[in-house]
């Protein structure tokens, strides 16, 4: 089976047993790997109504057919589970080295079920698999855990910090101490299973059907990565935070919990300022020529970050322009295992509620000094932090002020104002895991002109573009490669690389169609959980309150008109339910029968 290793490691933590089973070849053909394969497995493993933090939830970790091959940016792995933050299907993926090593240990996927009776860690090497006692690691930070488990140049560790142990609903899991399975609470699911860490080693060869063909495709892709200023200059020089000034300039940088769309302190937290002040060197995942990672140093510490989303969440969203404070808060999130986006956005929500006297707190926009203490309290569920650990939606609802949570399906919106980028708003509203900029980012067409500039305030015609980007992203997350590669290299190259690796002919259209299949499967999962059209929405502020000033002044999201067009484009009915005809076209119509009351 070229490209795939043909084996899945199935771990039952309740029984303390492991077994190796063959990869479901049909599923791999239809859903490729990574996110798609994870969704297909989760559909069978975790039925409706399961508490995400119960032993009945499962964690499915998948690599893809390109993982560990010679193609660019193929270090990544994807994790699928039911989210404790949103209750939706959740996939999160990250780079580093862990994914490549896991695959080279001989596996395409790892399924983790049940709950261990005490803290454990998993060790996976070509030589064997073991479930080890990790009681001595419980309470340790991410770096302490990785060090204790022998992270090295040959051994990668994926682990949680205190936030995951304490079931913070937006706890992340961190691989190689620097790369996060960031959003939606993967860390909390690991914590709920008493699974502290997974260490992997592996150097097996990934079989490739046509190495010469792959070499040529890689060579051609490298021309585009070199030619694109974004991948050869912008991202390497300024990291992802290079877009802070770009997004701010058009009035799309959400500020003070989305009350404004331009931040007066943007320049001070921009990628340019990072490069001039705190950057030590850039860093890269395995097989990545772009190197968007930032190794930075403040007056007190050295670490990784911040990325664009982080300087926004812990910066502009909270009205903070102190780059050192933001950076150290980022380090702390990495050590504790917290998603920086949800952490910052939840704090921003609390800051607005405090300023409006909805809660009694000293929190105020701009209070950089409160960031680190509050993040520690969140991770350890102390004081107000215990409430914030539930995420902004649950927190705001509990305080009877849900309007201050800037979230979709319970996941905090990332760093783009949907009123200033109409397509991005539709994307947030319809993303299966909640508000997300990585399930098809409209930053490309609406701001950067990739592949071509489309008017950011145009509503007509945005739905099919959003759909195409979502489907493309689902395919790319399943191969699995980095989406920044896709900023320079078109899907055509991924299809050709996939064909060369597997020996099975995939056209660009086939790849996008696989992405559509995956998107529809995720949609069915959410429908089975009871999500409806009413959940495909944005916070009222985005729909009702025009932006008050700046280049996007006067605009609200035109979501209602775009949503109808979106459903029609997808071949769904007016309630957002995929029709039997559409699902038959995608080869997954049988799944619809498993959703009583929805099947039509």
């Amino acid at each position: 089976m070229n490209g795939w290793m043909g084996k899945v490691l199935d771990v039952d933590l309740t029984a303390g047993e492991t077994r190796v089973v063959p990869l479901d070849a049909d599923a791999a053909r239809l859903f490729i790997g990574g996110r798609g394969l994870g969704a297909r497995y989760l559909w069978d493993l975790v039925g409706p109504g399961v508490d995400p933090l119960s032993p009945e939830n499962a964690l499915v970790i998948c690599t893809g057919p390109l993982t560990g091959t010679a193609f660019q940016t193929t270090s990544r792995f994807s994790t699928t589970t039911k989210s404790p933050l949103t209750g939706t299907i959740l996939d999160a993926n990250c780079g580093g080295f862990w994914g490549m090593r896991f695959k080279r240990a001989g596996f395409d996927a790892l399924i983790v079920r049940g709950r261990a009776s005490h803290p454990v860690s998993l060790e996976i090497t070509a030589g064997g698999i073991s479930i080890d006692d990790a009681s001595h690691l419980w309470g340790k930070t991410v770096p302490e855990t990785a060090q204790a488990l022998g992270q090295s140049t040959r051994r990668s560790v994926l682990c949680i910090g205190p936030a995951g142990e304490n079931l913070v609903r937006f706890a992340s899991a961190i691989s190689d101490c620097t790369r996060a399975l960031g959003r939606g609470g993967v860390g909390a699911v690991m914590g709920s299973k008493n699974l502290k860490a997974i260490a992997v080693e592996g150097d097996a060869r990934v079989e490739v059907a046509d190495r010469e063909r792959l070499r040529f495709v890689r060579y051609e892709a490298s021309k585009h990565l070199t030619a694109s200023p974004l991948t050869s200059q912008g991202l390497p020089q300024f990291g992802t935070a290079g877009v802070v000034n770009v997004v701010n300039a058009i009035g799309a940088l959400p500020t003070r919990n989305f009350q404004e769309s331009q931040f007066e302190g943007a320049e001070r937290i921009s990628g340019e300022t990072i490069a001039e002040s705190i950057l030590v060197r850039k860093s890269a995942c395995w097989s990545c020529p772009i190197a968007c990672g930032r190794v930075t140093r403040t007056a007190h510490a050295q670490g990784e970050g911040p990325e664009y989303e982080t300087v926004w969440a812990l910066g502009a969203a909270c009205g903070i322009d102190d780059l050192e404070a933001i950076t150290e808060a980022n380090y702390l999130c990495n050590d504790l295992g917290l998603d920086t986006i949800s952490a910052g956005a939840t704090i921003a929500c609390a800051m607005e509620m405090a300023e409006r006297r909805v809660i009694d707190s000293e929190l105020r926009f701009g209070r950089a000094d409160l960031l680190k203490p509050l993040l520690r309290d969140i991770a350890h569920r102390a004081g107000l932090g215990d409430e914030l650990a539930e995420g902004s939606r649950r927190f705001a609802e509990k305080r009877e002020a849900p309007q201050y949570s800037m979230s979709v399906k319970g996941m905090e919106m990332p760093a783009y104002d949907p009123r200033a980028m109409q397509g991005q708003g539709l994307l947030f509203a319809t993303s299966n895991r909640g508000a997300c900029h990585m399930r098809g980012n409209m930053l490309g067409p609406e701001v950067l002109g990739l592949p071509k500039l489309v008017h950011r305030l145009q509503a007509q015609g945005k739905a099919p573009m959003v759909m195409l980007h979502q489907d493309s992203a689902a395919a790319i997350d399943s191969l699995i490669v980095c989406k920044f590669t896709n900023m320079a290299v078109a899907e055509e190259y991924f299809a050709r690389a996939l064909s060369a690796v597997t020996g099975v002919s995939f056209s660009t259209g086939d790849l996008i169609r696989a992405g559509e299949r995956i998107w529809n499967l995720e949609r069915l999962y959410n429908l089975r959980e009871g999500f409806t059209r009413a959940d495909d929405t944005l916070p009222r502020r985005m729909l009702d309150d025009p932006i008050a000033a700046g280049p996007s002044k006067g605009w609200v999201s035109r979501l209602p008109e775009m949503l109808d067009e979106y459903y029609a484009t997808r071949g769904w009915d007016v309630d957002g339910v995929p029709g039997r005809e559409k699902l038959a076209e995608l080869g997954i119509e049988r799944l619809l029968e498993q959703i009583p009351g929805v099947a039509k």
Partner: protein
């Protein structure tokens, strides 16, 4: 009702195609897909002088009254949208490319930009090469693999997320074909500057 920005994109790309000599006064057509509908140039309208009245909105999968007005190639545009991820289609008549298509099964650019962007452009032949069932069968299949395809003796169909992306492939193809013709006139052996040049033929 057609969005102002959408109309402007039709007008700009239509004008550019005409000014660049990629279509004759009333040749070629453009369309974009919006969900289960498409907007396509009206039959007989001049690409270089499009007005709002020259754009026809019609259903993608089934005929409606829009077909009375739409471009001759409507059936081909529809088939392309149904078979590929395209959101925009440009059909033009690039002269050098048409000339080369008469004697070749494929056009392999030899210039740098053409090599980067196109690698290879297949040539598809149809006995009835305007709005025919044969084109509906052959062109979408080729466009699942390639972003631009030549129809022998007729012209090219290219796809993109936007009209200007699809236009770029047309413009690039024609430039590459003009360079191939110029190189033929010079009639001197090529000096190698692209690694793995032969590989482009198997792209």
């Amino acid at each position: 009702m057609i969005d102002e920005q959408v109309l402007r994109s039709f007008q700009e790309i239509g004008r550019d195609l005409y000014v660049a000599g990629l279509v004759s006064s009333h040749g070629g057509n453009l369309s974009v897909r919006f969900g289960d509908r498409i907007i396509i140039k009206r039959r007989g309208a001049m690409l270089g002088r499009l007005t709002e009245e020259d754009l026809v909105e019609t259903r993608l999968a089934k005929p409606d009254s829009g077909v009375m007005l739409a471009s001759t190639e409507l059936v081909v545009h529809r088939a392309i949208y149904l078979a590929t991820p395209a959101l925009a289609v440009v059909h033009a008549h690039p002269r050098a490319a048409i000339a080369l298509s008469l004697s070749r099964e494929e056009i392999v650019p030899i210039d740098n930009e053409g090599s980067y962007l196109l690698h290879k452009v297949p040539v598809v032949a149809a006995e009835f090469a305007s709005g025919s069932a044969e084109m509906v069968e052959k062109l979408p299949a080729a466009l699942r693999q390639y972003k631009i395809v030549m129809l022998r003796g007729h012209g090219c169909f290219s796809i993109g997320q936007t009209l200007d992306e699809a236009f770029q492939w047309v413009s690039c193809l024609e430039e590459s074909c003009e360079i191939i013709l110029a190189a033929k006139l010079i009639d001197e052996p090529f000096l190698e500057y692209r690694k793995m040049s032969e590989e482009y033929r198997s792209w």
